[in-house]
Symmetry: C2
Subunit: 382 residues, 2 copies
Amino acid sequence: MRDVAVIGIGITKFGELWWQNLRELYVEAALKAIKDAGVDHLDSMYVGCMTSGLFCAQEHLGSLMADYLGQKHLPAYRIESACASGGLAFRLGYIEVASGMSDIVLVGGVEKMLTGADATFALASAADQEYEAFHGNTFPGLYAMIAKAHMTKYGTTREQMAAVAVKSHDNGSKNPNAQFPLKISKEMVLNATPVADPLGLFDCSPVSDGAAAVILCPVELAKKYTDTIIKVIGSGAATSTIALHQRDDITFLDAVYQAGKRAYEVAGLKPEDIDFAEVHDCFTIAEICCIEALGFCEVGQGGPFSEAGNTALDGKVPINTSGGLKSKGHPVGATGVAQIVELVEQLRGSAGERQVKNAKRGLAQNMGGSGGSSVVHILEVQ
Amino acid sequence: MRDVAVIGIGITKFGELWWQNLRELYVEAALKAIKDAGVDHLDSMYVGCMTSGLFCAQEHLGSLMADYLGQKHLPAYRIESACASGGLAFRLGYIEVASGMSDIVLVGGVEKMLTGADATFALASAADQEYEAFHGNTFPGLYAMIAKAHMTKYGTTREQMAAVAVKSHDNGSKNPNAQFPLKISKEMVLNATPVADPLGLFDCSPVSDGAAAVILCPVELAKKYTDTIIKVIGSGAATSTIALHQRDDITFLDAVYQAGKRAYEVAGLKPEDIDFAEVHDCFTIAEICCIEALGFCEVGQGGPFSEAGNTALDGKVPINTSGGLKSKGHPVGATGVAQIVELVEQLRGSAGERQVKNAKRGLAQNMGGSGGSSVVHILEVQ
């Protein structure tokens, strides 16, 4: 397999973008990535998107996006794995370049969620429809159960979860593309409108429109386009049971653990070798569970670890420097690709006010549903 | 890239399967393929499915299907390209094995269309929602326009289109898994209830439930499992404009042409080297356009070519020996994989009454929407 580099990135503003439809969002991000990379053609394209069918009554996104990008005849694929759609699209683009099948591959992710469709119903299609969603459970409900179990088993507190949100908004306030680029206080989180006990409004990522895109090519070819080679040094993907009630322990995200383990093995690295990470904080408790499963702290200690400032921009391992899903926004199909965009910004040293010092290796972890699927990538600047 | 073989196949009955849900259909086909291959583990899995969101309010199919297949932690991807979802899932499974990333990969396709959901609305999400579907066009309407244009430009007749349906049902009557395993007459086609002029009921493929699955592995490893090595010798994918009104010529399926051209190039073959083919006959006119774009006859001559018996089981190039989408049924996400299953049956010499004599090389062509995407594979028995 060939070594693969990321040579271009593009992202839209995340938020309530009523004036842009699905295809416009995708094409904006894709054109930015193409321009950033400086490539004059594409060999193949991947579109990560969760549920454009339920939000926009539109499937067949490979054809649609290649068409509106002016790339008729381009082989194009739409990849879906709920909120991990973007991350898995990136993994498949990586495999295609690594295989030798294609040289220049665009991977984009997009979701248009503000369409008038019922977002809670659409998002519930990431859960087990017949055993969870049909009976009335929703994503805040599922993560609330994880939070309750984590609090019971490990003594995790609402204050610790609030610290996650405060930190992410601190970072997001420095990200011009963030949906909510504003600082919040612990008191605001604790006193916010309850959504699903123990989670309040500020424990939850928002409903967002947005898109992100990256360009991949072999490392050898990358040297033609840039002096800053950002190489994909690890990739791992895994699934778990789609329904929470089938898990051995709902506080431990085993798909995240497995995906991380595989990516670390490919890279020949350990968690302590990672300088910073973007993780899938769809809820504050999710960030806590993810950093545990990825080995950034001990299992059960994600709450105190976060509260002590270890995940802050100047902490031991900065987490979600972009603002994360919480502050940056969470257009679900775009999120996994947007995480890669943030890794590249940091590794290029172009992250502005939110730049991590000496950022040489970053990890991106994207997750579907309540942890039914996950994918981890590790990128390194050469 | 490594050479890749298909070592296992599985398929469900196609039809109105009210007693089986989405996951049960997929798992039935997958378990049959695993048993047929004789493998004791999987490294990765692809699920081709078009619109389980609109039909079943269920996305996140990689996690769901890995879970219900008892394959927790398996990397799993859902691939969507409207009715070409299964064929593109096969292509990505092929790339993953060829790359060296994985050895044993399951590729399955599934669609549960009989759920009470509005099939016409759901299928229209394969068209351009904002420029075609929203204005009331449907798939029979789009293909009726193609048929009208083909009749006008080339003199194609309703009788010629009827000959396609009669031939496909002849083949399908020999396929125990077909939804409509019954012979029909030209008069039945011509006198059937009109759907969208000039297409009648027997010009249209049905709405179906079903699933199909195959197992891929490197050719070198395949020798451990079977003496009959069936190798993937060509693969090509392409897109075109999603909307008909953007095409240069709506009678010519350029995505099919491009995908075929690329697959022939990889295989080092020409159309005349192909012994038989499964093509995407969602409507009778579609089969005519597909065999033209694939070079089995001259452009514009698909009608007379079919009427003269060239595409029959004992003709020059047997087309849709399985019965095709028309008689076998068309659970859209399953169709592309089911085509591969038929190729393998023929190449193994196990197709029973519908066996093509001296079948050494088969071609499968799967298509999304009105030709907005297409994928072609060529398989050869070694």
